[in-house]
């Protein structure tokens, strides 16, 4: 269990060092028609360079199964997420580590994020109950 704490710490340091935890920098990346800051391409590139080497053998070893469906839920969910990301400059990891800023902005964002997840879960239950 100490590994989960350590991995979380390392992940968080990576978010701060890379600039991902600063919403201004994230929005400067998403704003391709403005004074574009391509730094976040390197964050994703550096991270995926590591996971691309180690993930497939580890997943085989651990026998983990994944959803592979490319359906309307995937596309709609990703689109809604992207809109929220583009408004605030926070995706889930940066928002959570930014709770350390002790700002009302990050606290409100994370509370709303939890509420949004619960709303999606409730909607899924209602649909299952109806069928």
């Amino acid at each position: 269990m100490i590994h989960a704490l350590g991995a979380g710490l390392l992940f968080g340091v990576g978010l701060w060092l890379s600039g991902m935890a600063n919403p201004r920098k994230v929005l400067d990346f998403l704003d391709i028609t403005g004074d574009w800051d391509p730094s976040l391409l390197l964050v994703m590139g550096g991270a995926v360079a590591v996971t691309a080497i180690f993930f497939r053998p580890l997943i085989r070893l651990k026998r983990i199964e994944f959803l592979e469906a490319i359906d309307s839920r995937l596309v709609a969910g990703a689109a809604l997420f992207g809109v929220g990301w583009g408004i605030a400059g926070y995706c889930p990891g940066p928002a959570i580590t930014a709770l350390s800023n002790l700002s009302s902005e990050s606290a409100v964002f994370v509370a709303a994020m939890v509420a949004g997840g619960l709303a999606a879960q409730a909607a899924a239950w209602r649909r299952r109950a109806a069928t």
């Binding site: 991270a47 995926v48 990050s106």
Partner: protein, 138 residues
């Protein structure tokens, strides 16, 4: 491109990748932050201990960063109504879309998943379009 920080961003990205590999190797878990968070509130309750510890590490890293490296960034003029609306969209969207920048991006692309590649292209596109509207239209 005045704010381009290629070295710090690349090293930070590598650390994020290493942390994801660490969690997978040690706990057999995927470091998708939205999934870790939503799983805390899922019914029936699953194993919550590792989720709480990972998220605690994530927050502790921020406190350590502000204490030893740089103060917390401050943003003026971003209304809490916008923060709430954006948080709702991110929470709802990642729950039905099954992941975020870390789960679909860092981990999904790392296992060469077509599903995750589609998700990444859609949320990047939606994010860029939204930022354009927020900064240049509204």
């Amino acid at each position: 491109m005045a704010n381009f920080t290629p070295v710090a961003s690349l090293i930070g990205g590598v650390l994020i990748g290493l942390a994801s590999v660490w969690l997978l190797a040690a706990n057999g878990r995927i470091a998708g932050i939205s999934g870790i968070l939503h799983g805390l509130f899922a019914q029936p309750p699953g194993d919550r201990t590792w989720r709480v510890l990972f998220l605690a590490g994530l927050i502790a890293a921020g406190f350590a960063w502000h204490a030893f490296v740089a103060p917390a960034p401050v943003r003026e003029g971003f209304g809490l109504g916008w923060a709430a609306a954006a948080g709702l969209l991110v929470g709802f969207g990642t729950r039905i879309g099954g992941g975020c920048t870390s789960g679909h991006g860092v981990c999904g692309l790392g296992r060469f998943s077509l599903r995750s590649l589609v998700a990444v292209m859609v949320f990047m596109g939606a994010g860029m379009a939204t930022t354009y509207v927020m900064r240049h239209v509204l």
